[in-house]
């Protein structure tokens, strides 16, 4: 972070004019800062991934397996046969360029290889050479090329500069989804042992300890108890939090980022206070203590393996349905993959709110409800005692997390919740919210410090939109529904819109909730003094 340029200098360095050399002739820059640290050998060994070794992307020799070209070719062929999406997306792009300026990494860097169309062309060029007749014969005319070590290196650099946010897919006239292309490219890179530690270590942790941070069960319990103590200090109420207990109606699963670090823990405190307030019959689990699925960033098989814990634990504990916390890619996996991979979960029941009686038909198959839906329903039925004035020191805006926005459509539920607990709420510019939302630039396993400049560049569109509401409406808090956002938006806001804090939606709910028998509150969940109330 030391050599990160100042925000205005970085802004001035952006140039959208492509280099004079063609993209196939522009060598890839593998200098430090352009990549995340490679996966440690012991993590790969533990997970059974190929080619564990010590290496650095800055080295000339990446210690690839001898037959790596065959491995990539075979892997490519296999995935073309398994996924229609990949096959169609390799063939139908007309390079109209509608996606070109939609990617946050392109907007902040001006690097043409960050245009989604060109990012996909890095892969398509090899596809044409290996799998199309014209590409085999008319190499340069059709834009095909041979898979060389330099091409593989280029894949590594640029497919790890894609956060799979799908913004480009929204604008593509054929719905070509770069997230899908990136996922396939990363799977192929994995086959050769080319991957990053910030993904593989969380995957290994999720597998063993149940959560990506590697928190062991007893430590998990300790952390929750700390939060219970904090809640007692703030509200005077000691909450009981069931863990790993059988026979409760609901199992609650949230990303472990909410348990571990600021400001996620305040969101977590909000969940606990809400459950106590409504008397929800629930339990947490240390075994299924991670909603975020880092397997999504490695391979379909690993995604399935990690995700399977949710249903397995719900079954073991005898819960009726699952309530899920605020998390971005967790909800992509739950909405678009979970029932297909891990279901059908016939041992569960269609979720029904025990407080309002609302049946969540929209979750009839997965049996899993998003907490924003759950809370919005409680509010609609006036089941919560709320004092929104406790959030009067907060002037909030809302960041739509990419996955719930573009792979689910969860847009109005969190807004409904926010509007019930915060009086000052302002939307960012319309091209940067809802389905057009911009990524935090740290998604899909890229929230690591060694690529801080890339992250800050990618964060420009979001940071800029935030700054505009900060200037116009004195916004000082950006709420979101994603644990990775809560981690990555903090440095982003410090850099592009200093003075704005980040919170989860349920932190603000927690502030506003009036618990039965609580003492008069003097601070919010962050232990900041509450604004003086008018008599």
């Amino acid at each position: 972070m030391a050599d990160l340029p100042k925000a205005d200098e970085l802004f001035k360095s952006i140039n959208y004019t492509p280099p004079s050399t063609g993209w196939m002739d522009t060598p890839v820059d593998c200098s430090p800062g352009n990549w995340c640290y490679p996966a440690k050998a012991d993590k790969l060994e533990y997970l059974g991934f190929p080619n564990p070794r010590q290496w650095s992307p800055a080295d000339v020799d990446w210690k690839l397996p001898e037959n790596w070209q065959d491995i990539v070719h075979q892997g490519f062929k296999e995935r073309l046969d398994k996924y229609r999406s990949l096959k169609v997306f390799m063939d139908v792009c007309v390079r109209c360029g509608a996606c070109a300026d939609k990617c946050h990494f392109f907007i902040g860097s001006g690097d043409p290889k960050n245009m989604p169309v060109l990012r996909a062309e890095l892969m398509r060029s090899v596809y044409r050479k290996d799998f199309t007749m014209a590409g085999k014969i008319l190499t340069t005319l059709t834009g095909s090329r041979v898979m060389t070590e330099d091409v593989l290196k280029e894949w590594f650099i640029y497919f790890y500069q894609c956060t799979e946010c799908r913004r480009c897919s929204l604008f593509c006239p054929y719905g070509i989804d770069t997230a899908e292309v990136t996922m396939m490219a990363r799977e192929l890179l994995h086959l050769c042992g080319v991957n990053i530690n910030w993904i593989m270590e969380p995957v290994a942790n999720c597998n063993r300890t149940g959560n990506h941070l590697g928190i062991q069960p007893h430590a998990f319990k300790d952390i929750v108890e700390f939060m219970v103590d904090d809640i007692e200090e703030i509200t005077g109420k000691k909450l009981h939090v069931p863990m790993n207990e059988k026979g409760h109606e609901v199992i609650f699963i949230t990303p472990s980022g909410d348990v571990f670090a600021d400001p996620g823990i305040y969101t977590f405190m909000g969940y606990l206070m809400l459950f106590d307030h409504i008397g929800l019959d629930y339990t947490l689990s240390t075994y299924a203590s991670e909603g975020g699925n880092f397997g999504l960033f490695t391979s379909a098989d690993m995604m399935k393996k990690l995700n399977g814990k949710m249903y397995a634990e719900a079954k073991r504990l005898g819960a009726k349905w699952i309530l899920g916390g605020e998390c971005g890619h967790m909800w992509r996996v739950i909405n678009q993959y979970m029932d297909t991979m891990n279901g059908p979960a016939d041992f569960l029941q269609v979720p029904k709110s025990p407080i309002t009686g609302t049946v969540f038909h929209s979750a009839a198959q997965t049996k899993m409800v998003h907490i924003a839906e759950f809370t919005a329903d409680l509010m609609k039925h006036n089941k919560l005692k709320l004092d929104p004035t406790r959030n009067d020191h907060i002037r909030a805006t809302f960041h739509d997390s990419c996955n719930p926005a573009r792979a689910m459509g969860l847009l109005d539920e969190p807004r409904y919740v926010l509007n019930n607990v915060v009086k000052n709420f302002h939307e960012m510019p319309e091209q940067t919210i809802r389905e057009q939302t911009f990524c935090c630039a740290g998604g899909s396993g890229l929230n690591t410090d060694e690529i801080m400049e890339i992250r800050m560049r990618g964060g420009l569109p979001r940071g800029n939109a935030l700054k505009s509401v900060q200037e116009e409406h004195d916004v000082n808090m950006m709420a979101c529904i994603c644990a990775i956002d809560r981690a990555t938006l903090i440095p982003l806001a410090d850099y592009w819109a200093p003075g704005v804090d980040i919170c989860g939606v349920h932190e603000l709910v927690g502030n506003a909730l009036i618990l039965d028998g609580e003492k008069e509150r003097e601070t919010d969940l962050r232990m900041n003094p509450l604004p003086k109330k008018e008599e």
């Binding site: 398994k82 989804d177 062991q216 007893h218 379909a300 009839a364 459509g409 969860l410």
Partner: protein, 331 residues
């Protein structure tokens, strides 16, 4: 450079027809053999590509959603950007295919006064729409050459297309608009540095080819004033598999025909297959209902199981008991 290669290629095709018919007297080859082959290649190739795509399964339900999901009763559901039923999905696809809806969203980014700005950019949408619909009208109008008697609807299309009644023979709007549309697409590709950077020969070639087809058609109609009845004799001969080469057909017709045949042959092997591919795009043609209904993955491997709770408890039993967490098996 890529644009130049494509231009040379199109010129070569024009010369090929000129010499082939005028000098080498191969009218039969150009007027009968080639069109039959071209249509066959187009039909078989198109079907082959579609079947090839369709053979790969869609393991997961992965629509890109563009609006509010179906949720609680009091939250307004955006049915056409976030469909849950087949009917809603059909409408989404219809709007996509017929109105280019995703392209309608297009914005343009610029850096102004230290800020990123987004402006609406509907030019690509507008000109693509003009181009594609003009193309459709022209294809429908040309159908008069392949039917006897001519169906009434073709006559209506012709009448509407020429409703402005400019000049003799009457100018068709679609002739003008297709040239305007393609010229815009080409100019945009050449003008915008980003687009020029990503453009391949295969991007310029079809644009130039279609311009050449349009111009040769206009030349035939307004300058060479070709004998349409003679041409119809030829086309009807092709349709009835009873081919004839009438006299008095201007060479410009053979140029036009060769270019069209090239387009037909080129079509299934190129990006022009987006015309078929869009129907198979999983991010658009699926409802967002995977939380509501089961979606089957044909290759879902039942052997992939999570790290079991038993193994987890074995790993952490002592500390769990110490912390007072319930365990399934006592130490």
């Amino acid at each position: 450079m890529n644009a130049l290669y494509s231009l040379v290629l199109v010129f070569a095709l024009v010369l090929l027809a000129l010499f082939g018919v005028e000098t080498a007297h191969m009218a039969k080859l150009f007027g009968i053999g080639l069109p039959l082959v071209a249509v066959a290649v187009f039909l078989v190739g198109f079907a082959y590509r579609m079947i090839k795509w369709a053979k790969s399964p869609v393991p997961f339900c992965i629509p890109t959603t563009g609006g509010q999901q179906k949720s609680l009763d009091f939250i307004h559901h955006n049915k056409f950007d976030n469909p849950v039923t087949p009917c809603q999905t059909f409408i989404r696809m219809f709007l996509e295919v017929c109105c280019f809806r995703s392209l309608f969203r297009n914005t343009k980014v610029a850096l102004k006064d230290g800020k990123v700005t987004y402006a609406s950019a509907k030019w690509l949408w507008l000109f693509s729409l003009l181009f594609h619909y003009s193309f459709l009208l022209i294809v429908i109008r040309h159908m008069r050459l392949f039917f006897e008697p001519i169906p009434a609807c073709i006559g209506w299309v012709e009448m509407l297309d020429g409703i402005m009644q400019i000049g003799t023979p009457r100018m068709y709007m679609s002739d003008l608009l297709i040239i305007v549309g393609v010229a815009f697409l080409l100019a945009r590709r050449l003008w915008d540095a980003k687009l020029r950077y990503i453009s391949l020969v295969t991007d310029y070639f079809p644009l130039l080819l279609i311009i050449a087809i349009g111009l040769s058609g206009i030349y035939m109609r307004f300058i060479a004033k070709v004998d349409v009845m003679a041409i119809k004799q030829l086309t009807m001969g092709l349709v009835t598999f009873n081919p004839v080469i009438p006299a008095n057909v201007d060479v410009s017709f053979y140029v036009h025909l060769l270019l069209v045949c090239t387009l037909l042959i080129y079509f299934p092997f190129s990006k022009l297959m987006h015309a078929g591919g869009i129907f198979l795009s999983p991010t658009r043609n699926m409802p967002n209902n995977s939380r509501i209904k089961h979606h089957e993955n044909p290759w879902n491997d039942p052997n992939i199981k999570p790290h079991s709770y038993e193994a987890y408890e074995d790993d952490f039993r002592e500390p769990m008991i110490e912390a007072g967490l319930p365990v399934d098996k006592e130490a």
